[in-house]
């Protein structure tokens, strides 16, 4: 029983035991959480993955799957990821904003954006917008098109939440 995992920057997939795999996923999840407020957290995560890959290559013996012990030692050496900039808890956050969201969108991602902004369920939002479309005889369609042009695009709901929670004026 073994898992394979791809790491950013490396073309090969790394073989590891399920326990080692779980350990690594947990480590990366913690790192992501620690870097949540950093504007380039994703970039740092890619760097971390790439360095884990480098170390796995130099630690590997005959391409045997990485064991839990090896993985633990390696992650201990790399150390817990801590944010590079001081905690942003005291700086004002950007707060909620209107946008349209790409991942999971039906048409322009407007309903997703409205749902994320207002913390509503997206299926309800869509139903309401469709009803309005019928009731207004299509007029809301023009509003929709206008929003399509003016609202900023955000890739995923998670990305929206990250932007919302990060400082107002990221450097």
């Amino acid at each position: 029983m073994e898992e394979t995992m791809r790491l950013s920057g490396h073309s090969k997939a790394f073989a590891m035991t399920p326990q080692a795999h779980r350990l690594l996923l947990g480590y990366l999840a913690d790192a992501r959480a620690a870097l949540n407020a950093e504007p380039d957290g994703d970039e740092t995560i890619r760097d971390m993955e790439s360095t884990v890959g480098d170390r796995l290559i130099s630690a590997s013996v005959d391409d045997a799957p990485v064991t839990e012990t090896t993985m633990r030692e390696l992650l201990d050496e790399i150390g817990t990821v801590t944010a590079g900039s001081p905690a942003t808890s005291d700086s004002p956050r950007r707060g909620r904003f209107w946008c349209r969201i790409d991942e999971g969108k039906w048409f322009g991602g407007i309903c997703l954006g409205i749902a994320a902004r207002s913390e509503l369920r997206v299926d309800w939002t869509r139903v309401v917008v469709l009803l309005l479309l019928l009731v207004t005889g299509g007029l809301i369609g023009f509003v929709y098109l206008a929003l399509l042009i003016f609202l900023p695009r955000v890739s995923t709901v998670e990305e929206y939440e990250r932007l919302r929670d990060s400082p107002a004026t990221p450097r």
Partner: protein, 107 residues
């Protein structure tokens, strides 16, 4: 133990200037910077170093270029920007001032 904690506080603040100084003359990639710091007796874990490097880039103090490597993936080679150099210079001056203070205050 007590004095170690106090010294650790000073060391922490020195990480950023040391990183800047490590790439003052040569382009280096992150793992080389980590090795360089270890070699001068300032061990730092990647978990601390990598976020810091990205922060420095965000602040416009360092920049990087991608270069192929013989083994493994392409690497980001970091170097100082103009403001990175200015900041390092500022650190050095400040550091010397501090050193002079501790040397002269008792006399």
């Amino acid at each position: 133990m007590e004095s170690e904690t106090k010294l650790a506080a000073i060391r922490r603040g020195l990480l950023e200037p040391l990183v800047l100084a490590a790439i003052e003359h040569t382009h280096r990639y992150a793992a080389e910077i980590a090795t360089g710091l270890r070699d001068v007796g300032f061990p730092v874990q990647e978990g601390t170093l990598y976020p810091l490097l990205n922060k420095l880039r965000r602040e416009g103090l360092v920049e990087h270029e991608w270069r192929e490597s013989q083994a493994g993936p392409p690497r980001k080679y970091l170097s100082l920007t103009r403001s990175g150099r200015a900041q390092l210079e500022e650190f050095r001056t400040y550091w010397n001032d501090l050193a002079r203070m501790i040397d002269t205050i008792g006399n």
